[in-house]
Symmetry: C2
Subunit: 203 residues, 2 copies
């Protein structure tokens, strides 16, 4: 299982118009593209991936939304499709526990700290000054990425309070969804290499 | 200069509604995500990139649209923003030569063959069975990628008639925009390594 947390500092916490994701919905477009990057293969979904969105915008923060690649349906690669599922989740009366709003999409009331405690795993935090991911192997990783605002000092402190590693995907500063694509590529390559070496041993 | 051609086999060739990019606009969402992947850095644009879209859908095919990273303005990372610039280009009466519809966005009447002849460069064609890009160096590359339908036999024959190389970005079959992100990452790394070795020589 590969897990991604993306923090949307302005992402709204009530149903929104699908026609203005960057503006009125508080850069919800960023979170939608991260869902696409984390879950889609060509003509298939990555079943071993979960994506968590931390929504911190008005009017009712904080809320958490989860997309489970193994369960999700009715999701197409376009931003509007992911946005429509997020919107449906926000129509639910969020509780302190996960409630499924559509197959594979769930919502709960909670913040980044609650989520880290719930998942209780070593964190791989994406930041420009981190160690290069190339050649690294990630076992059941939990990645944390910021939106256009990065992470706040408070959020970084939460990460520092957990077992964590800071990594970078390359020499330039990229959007969160682009980072996810590059992370997947590195893991895909490692998995193929492992399979290859297992086959080699069996032969 | 890095150039990308993406072929939209169903992408419409007249102004369309921004509210249904995957359906009525003929998977225009794919082309919009490719523009994002090719042109955006975090808080910046890749100025050394040009993206060409080949629109082959009804009602008035074929048309070519060009986004020039060095000139483009009014482009945000969301799909709807790129779509809005494509729509504005399609409102122009396309000629057999490039006409600018907005800063950095131009349109002309023409097909894939016309475009290849105009650019007159070695083609790097992305296909799952190609040689791995990792470790390769691309000088002033011209990449060709298909949409959800891949390339037709006729389009592949056009490529075979030119100097070309077939490459792949990894072990799994990915969306065109994800391939572009991985291509850029490989080139970014190579450019950084070159800069580093130049600095080393100067020191």
């Amino acid at each position: 299982m590969k897990q991604f947390i993306i923090i949307g500092h302005k992402a709204v916490t009530a149903p929104f118009s699908l026609n203005d994701l960057p503006g009125a919905a508080g850069r919800m477009d960023i979170l939608c593209r991260c869902i696409n990057a984390a879950l889609f293969l060509s003509h298939d979904l990555r079943r071993d991936v979960r994506v968590y969105l931390v929504l911190k915008g008005e009017p009712d923060p904080p809320k958490l939304i989860r997309f489970d690649g193994n369960e999700v349906r009715y999701l197409s690669p376009d931003e509007r499709s992911a946005a429509s599922l997020i919107k449906k989740a926000l129509e639910k009366n969020a509780q302190d526990f996960w409630t499924e709003s559509m197959p594979g999409v769930s919502i709960r009331r909670g913040n980044f700290s609650n989520l880290l405690r719930e998942l209780n795993k070593k964190i791989i935090y994406l930041r420009e000054d981190g160690e290069d991911i190339r050649g690294k192997r990630f076992e059941e990783p939990l990645f944390v990425l910021g939106d256009h605002l990065g992470l706040t000092d408070e959020e970084e402190k939460l990460i520092e309070g957990c077992e964590h590693k800071i990594v970078s995907v390359g020499p330039l500063s990229l959007h969160a969804d682009h980072c996810i694509v590059i992370l997947h590529n590195e893991m895909d390559r490692k998995e193929k290499a492992s399979l290859h070496s297992i086959n080699h041993i069996i032969l």
